[in-house]
């Protein structure tokens, strides 16, 4: 059995932003579900931790939310990306890629390269 890992808080926010960017308007469960699928079930022990992150992103103005009708006779809170959120995603994405590229380069380095 693969050991599940909890996502780092910052990373989770980025995943939320990207998910909303791709999927448009979505409720909390949908976002969680989506992240789980994409990450191939390795991440996310406590899906509930998603909600504080959503609240923070909303306070930061990156996403907006409103109540909307849900399929099971309940109302659900739907989240969508704002313009500021899109911009934030862009910069975060850029940062992340840069970081990943640097780390990747370090892994590729062999002893003789440094000689």
């Amino acid at each position: 059995m693969k050991a599940k890992k909890d996502v780092q808080p910052g990373t989770l926010a980025l995943m939320v932003l990207k998910t909303l960017d791709v999927m448009g308007e979505l409720h909390g469960y949908g976002i969680a579900r989506r992240i789980e699928q994409i990450s191939g079930d390795i991440l996310f022990v406590n899906q509930g931790t998603l909600y504080p992150v959503l609240l923070r992103l909303e306070q930061e103005g990156a996403i907006a939310s409103e109540w909307g009708p849900s399929e099971n006779n309940r109302r659900a809170r739907f989240y969508k990306l704002t313009r500021a959120g899109r911009k934030l995603l862009e910069t975060e994405k850029h940062d992340w890629e840069q970081k990943a590229a640097i780390i990747a380069r370090f892994f590729e380095v062999k002893a003789e390269d440094l000689a």
Binding site: H27, G48, T49, P52, L55, R56, R74, R75
Partner: protein, 878 residues
Amino acid sequence: MKTLNRFLIRLRNLVTGQRGDQRLREELEDHVAREAEANIQAGMSEEEARRRARMKLGATEAIREQYHAEEGLPLLECLVQDTRFSLRQMRRSPGFTLVVVLTMALGIAATTTMFTVVYSTLLRSLPYPQSERIVAIHDTRITGRSAGGLMTGPRFYDIAARNRSFSSLAILYFDESTLIAGKKLPVYVKGAGANAGFWDVFATAPMLGRVFDARDDAPHAPQTVVLSYPGWQRLFGGDPNVIGEQVKLGQQTATIVGVMPRGFSASGDVELWHAAQSTPNSWGNDRGDDQRDANVFGRLRLGVTLAQAQGDLDRIGEQLRREYPSSDGAWRFTSETLREHWYGNVQPALVALLIASALLLMIACINVANLLLSRATTRQREVALRRALGASGRRVAFQFCVESVLLALAGGGTGILLAFVLTRIAATSLPGILGQSGTIHMDGIVTGVALLISVATGIVFGVVPVLETRKVQLHSALKQGDTRLGGAAGNWLRSVLVGVQVGLSLVLLVGASLLAESLWNLMKQPLGFEPEHLLTVRVLLPWDTTPEAVANFYNDVQQRIENLPGVEAAGQISAPPVTDFHVRGSFNADWLPQVANQPAVSAEIRNIAGNLLVAIGTPLLAGRDFSAADQISTVPPFLVNEALVREYLPKGDPIGHHLLLDGQAHEIVGVVADVRGVSGTIAAEPGPVVYWPANAHGGWHRYFLVRTKVPPEQLAKSIREQVYQSDPQQSVGEIGTMDQLLGDAVAQPRLNAAIVVSFAGVALLLACIGIYGVVSYLAAQRTQEIGVRMALGATRADITRFFVRRAMVPAAIGLATGTMVSLVVNRLLRSQLYGVQPDDLRLYLASLLVLLAPLLVATLRPAIRAGKTEPMEALRAE
């Protein structure tokens, strides 16, 4: 921006109490329902599906906590919560709270008041525009005694003509005179003559009207007068229509042109300024010492430093020494900032008092820390319980800090209120220049600093109990009863605190004893006159009264006073002892070699008439007193004092010798005893004095000294009446007693001693309370240990000795350290001491005894009580 936005949202949530609780619950429910549905579709039973969904969601409570944390401001919420809790704790133990708050308040009040005084005088810029550019310029004799820095008029005008450093120069001389306004009775006023430059140097706008300018200051211009605020109040009842009013000042007509604002005290407590109207030629060729009455101030040009200005003055002084060797040869100019000029004398005392108050604050804080520490120990179970319920160590520590800071704030607030009252009292009742109106007042900065200090002490000493809570062992603390045997941790901290406290108290006690001893030395020394039952009466005539009229007037008043019932003797003198009055003269002596331009004898000159020596009680040691004939002689004889004989004729008989002045030989007919404080302070050794028959010398301003058989105040009214009957145009100035003058003269040393003695007293009390508390606490903590020890054969005396040792070892270390610190710190007092050395061994021993005796009592009481413990009961208490 983003962070600010988020903060604002959170703040709004906190204030409105708005919570997204409902929203979160709904969202979570929706989440679980969907997950469960998905699980059912995957083939699970409904129950299993919901269970799995919940598990996947995670701990709802933790999520809610996190969500809340995102929603509000957790730190602020904790603060609010802890504040409420702390206030409840304070209410629950009012005794403890009261003691802590009062102790803190005492320390803060003392420190704040002293800081206010120091700040008002030594730190805050003086109340004139660019006050740092104002310089006091003194005339100083190169060797020997000066005349209080006073300058002659011609030398002032020489500076004015030759300097390159000052944008304006002020000359100011004090002159009392009689003012007659309208049909009112003549009033004695303390005035000052000033040039137009005076107003440029101090650059303060008048409250009403205008100040005088160069045109008013020109010779023979109509005389103009500017009133000070107190003068305006006393002489004109604060009448705003006073501008333009004509008055008679010293029998000359003058116009009042302005009133200065309250607190403008650039020249002491004068009631008015009039234009000096002098020119470089006003003194003719007379550059002599009897013209030395000018206070001089200058405003530095922009960019000129004090050192540069002093260099400039040195250059001018050198030129004058060469040009006028006979009159100016012995003099040079010195300068200092206005602040040094005014407060330089009191600075060491103020700094010492500030340090003393800071020591008191530290002692108070240590007591509070000790109290907090003891309480933290008794609250270990509470701490353990809270920790067991999940509070983090940091959370508990935070709460304790909040409690300490709250206590400190309450103490600080009370202290500041107290300081406010004390400052108000100090502002009017401090002696000398410190008590001048508008000098000392509290402001936002002082209050802010005081609050900051209280919060800082709250945090620093709040850390102590926090350290204590860190050690809490959950399992042992939660068990009922404390079964530890001896070696309780935290006790070393108590010992250190006790040691420091005792040491600091010793420093204060030594300081107090030094100052008290100085005051005692100062007051008990022989004065050379009898201050009891002695009335001083200021009387003056216009300066241009003819010598005959002067003599007639004073002879008449002398007669009238002598005839009053209750008068034992009366005499006249140009200034009584302990008044700040300087008239110096230089003489040659017929028994000393005569060198051109270097007169051999320099002495203070006092004019006397009437029966002065008997009235003031100064013994005539040799020769005779002045006769009536001496008073009208053209070459009058002199009396000299012992100091003059000691200094200039140590091995001979002065009677029959002559002092030479302007080619005339004045015979010395008598020697009188030294009088202390001839030119001000009674701390100075008496210098040479020459007494001159007043009527022969033509002194138009005098004091009557009247020795009375009845309480002197009773005669004041009838003396005023007699002067009025003698000449209704004249006023009588202040009537006081010699005792009052003496009291004022020792006011500063008395105040220093009183303050430090009271600080030391409080420190002693606090130290006793501290050590008593610690020993009691130790004894209570070790009841069982005492039981065991006694069961194993320890006697009661052993137990008592044990506790005394526990308290006395740190106290002794504290005393040893305190002695060292005293030796260093009390050196600061050196300039305030009189007749005692700062390392006087007697006083150190006395202070040690004074401190040890009550400390021993405070230790013995609880220690003996511990010794009386019944071993069986102590053991059973488990």
